[in-house]
């Protein structure tokens, strides 16, 4: 076999392997969910039906998707509906998954900035159905959008990181390099600089949300550069970041949910909480109460004030005096004294505010 043939075959096989994931059927958790479970009163037809399409991180990422699903399950329990779930293994799955979900339920929820285009198409195609999207704004009458002020929550964990670091070097590990993740980065940097003007922040992106070994590798290189507190906003890559913290004995900061349980040695300093569950729950609630409003002008943005973001300390690692300072920053953000930057441009003009 000549080398030319080998290379041709390799290319062919690589191309074919892309299809390997396609054959997978949609999973419905709980097994039975071909039809939504009947509501409490058996005579009635189920009034509501809703489901979620995950992004590539998938259920089990211990962060973003799990949190979104928790909100949907909560709403499902209250309304007596068995929600449906479709997992995406790659970005190309988004449009077909949205379409097949919209065909089977009234309200389709999707979480993730990467859904923006797919959601626009699906909303036009299934104009009689309702959609909910988290983390991006889709300006369609049948799409309700919920975004978060991640920069505000990230600012608070940035303050904690700035007050905790001993090497004056902290790290940020982002997932994909796009605006929503920039909000984490920028808020975090602003927080670190406010609490500790001498500290330096190393910023890295893994280029993925689903690659824990890459997350770990990035965290290890940041650690070798002297970082002793590393905040991640990288979905499932963060599992690797926290594991690196366990091995090398530095602090990791979790994201989206309280991730302290992920560390075997209690090396999660705190977690930046983003109540994605509140987001999905709010949308379903609005749909059930008939207050569902689509379009960009009705988009909801949840910040510190609305308790949509914040931080948690599941491992009891934040000393009381640090927590006190953080509370002061938090109050200052809520009453508008501090306006946390949300883009890299705003960060450049941001003046660190020191509160003792």
């Amino acid at each position: 076999m000549t080398k030319r043939n080998i290379s041709l075959l390799l290319v062919l096989v690589m191309a074919l392997s892309l299809f390997a994931g396609c054959a997978k059927p949609a999973e419905t958790p709980g097994g039975s969910a071909e039809e939504p479970a009947p509501a409490e009163t058996p005579a009635e037809e189920p009034k509501y039906s809703f489901g979620m399409v995950t992004d590539v991180g998938g259920i089990g990422d211990k962060s973003f998707n799990d949190s979104a699903w928790a909100g949907i399950e909560r709403a499902g329990k209250e309304l007596g509906v068995e929600p449906k779930l479709l997992q995406s293994t790659k970005q190309d799955d988004y449009p077909p998954n949205l379409g097949s979900m919209a065909q089977s339920v009234d309200l389709t929820l999707a979480v993730g900035f990467l859904f923006e285009d797919a959601m626009k198409t699906a909303a036009d195609q299934y104009a009689d159905k309702k959609f909910g999207v988290i983390d991006t704004v889709v300006d369609k009458p049948n799409v309700m959008s919920v975004t978060f002020k991640e920069h505000e929550g990230s600012f608070l964990v940035g303050v904690i990181a700035g007050l905790t670091t001993e090497s004056n070097i902290v790290g940020f590990v982002g997932g994909m390099d796009f605006p929503v993740i920039h909000k984490f980065e920028v808020g975090f940097v602003a927080g670190v600089k406010s609490a500790n003007p001498d500290a330096k922040v190393i910023v890295n992106y893994t280029g993925a949300f689903d690659n824990p070994d890459k997350g770990k590798e990035v965290a290890l290189t940041q650690f070798q550069q002297g970082a002793d507190v590393i905040f991640h906003a990288s979905g499932a890559c963060g599992i690797g970041v926290i594991q690196a913290a366990d091995e090398k004995d530095f602090w990791a900061i979790g994201v989206d949910m309280d991730q302290s349980a992920e560390s075997k040695k209690n090396k999660v300093l705190c977690s930046m909480i983003k109540r994605v569950d509140t987001g999905t729950y709010t949308v379903i609630k609005a749909y059930a109460d008939d207050t569902f409003k689509g379009g960009a002008e009705n988009a909801i943005e949840l910040g510190l004030k609305e308790e949509g973001v914040g931080y948690s300390d599941g491992g009891n690692n934040v000393p009381a005096e640090v927590a006190e300072v953080v509370d002061k920053y938090s109050d200052a953000i809520i009453d508008g004294t501090i306006v946390v930057p949300s883009t890299r441009e705003e960060l450049e003009s941001f003046k660190p505010v020191e509160i003792k």
């Binding site: 076999m1 000549t2 080398k3 043939n5 080998i6 290379s7 075959l9 390799l10 096989v13 690589m14 074919l16 392997s17 390997a20 994931g21 054959a23 997978k24 999973e27 958790p29 991180g57 998938g58 259920i59 089990g60 990422d61 997992q87 293994t89 790290g171 390099d177 190393i202 910023v203 890295n204 992106y205 280029g207 689903d210 690659n211 824990p212 070994d213 890459k214 770990k216 590798e217 990035v218 290890l220 290189t221 940041q222 070798q224 550069q225 499932a236 599992i239 690797g240 594991q243 091995e247 992920e262 075997k264």
Partner: protein, 293 residues
């Protein structure tokens, strides 16, 4: 500056470790005349079995053993179909890749009750800067070189890959040698997978192999079907990965898209022969018919 070099060095070795096992496996298989496109699938199944066994027994050592057993089975499957039945080796290899991807996805849901990824399991924590797999990989490179070039068995392997008829005439059992080599490549591929799932991290995630089997295969070609060459090629790919990781944290202003694509671009360049001439074993990919003229 010195600090950057140590960081790059560590990152390179860590990224290259899983590739090195798999590339050694590929070298054995191809040297004996069987193209192993199924390395990706063998890594996948190895990564999964390692986590599975470690999950149920709590022992990463048994996990590694589990990976070896499952890798041997998949190697045997490729050998059985492509040597015994003379099926097209590339088709069988591709089938193994698809089988491994689907089987692990299915079992993941069956066993852990959720799609996507498994729970954390016990794994090989680092000894010093690296985990056990890294040291093992370097030892195996030496062992493979010794076996292939300094032992009668290695001579037989190479003979079978270059000219099976001549080897057969001289009394070498072509089928047996090929069976051994392909099963060995399955085992090494699976260890490569385990090096990721219970070495680099401690869980199995769908799609975590992400083309590393193919990169290892490219390393075999890049390394001219020589164990040391293949290992160096793996280190080179590891370096590409490390540059990508490290340059970003150093704040070098290189376009990220280019950096993310770098390892794959290098792979393509390697495969398309831009890095010097490399000649495959003459009988690579050709099923052997005993007694045929």
């Amino acid at each position: 500056m010195w600090n950057i070099i140590t960081i790059l060095f560590g990152s390179t070795i860590r990224s290259a470790t899983p590739l090195m096992f798999t590339a050694l496996g590929g070298t054995f298989s191809e040297r004996s005349g069987v193209v192993n496109i199924g390395l990706e699938g063998m890594m996948t199944i190895g990564a999964f079995s390692a986590v599975l066994v470690s999950y149920f027994t709590g022992s990463p050592f048994l996990g590694l053993l589990g990976a070896i057993v499952s890798g041997a089975f998949f190697g045997w499957l490729l050998a059985f179909l492509s040597i015994h039945f003379k099926a097209n080796q590339v088709v069988v290899g591709t089938a193994i890749n698809i089988l491994a991807a689907s089987l692990t996805t299915f079992l993941l849901v069956e066993i852990w009750g959720k799609p996507g990824q498994t729970d954390n399991v016990n794994y090989f924590t680092p000894w010093g800067p690296f985990n056990m797999f890294t040291y093992l990989a370097f030892i195996l490179v030496g062992v493979s070189y010794f076996v292939l070039y300094k032992t009668p068995f290695g001579l037989r392997i190479r003979a079978v890959g270059e000219h099976p008829r001549a080897a057969d005439t001289l009394g070498v059992n072509v089928y047996k040698v090929r069976y051994i080599c392909v099963i060995l490549s399955g085992i090494l591929g699976a260890i490569g997978g385990a090096a990721l799932s219970i070495g680099s991290i401690s869980l199995f995630k769908e799609g975590m192999i992400a083309g590393k089997g193919f990169i290892a295969l490219a390393a075999v070609i890049f390394g001219k079907w020589h164990p040391v060459g293949a290992a160096l090629a793996c280190l080179f790919f590891g370096l590409a990965d490390a540059i990508q990781t490290v340059s970003m944290s150093l704040g070098l202003d290189l376009p990220k898209e280019f950096l993310f694509a770098l390892p794959y671009i290098l792979t393509m360049m390697a495969v398309s022969g831009l890095v010097g001439k490399s000649v495959a074993p003459a009988a690579d990919g050709v099923p052997y018919e005993k007694g045929e003229k």
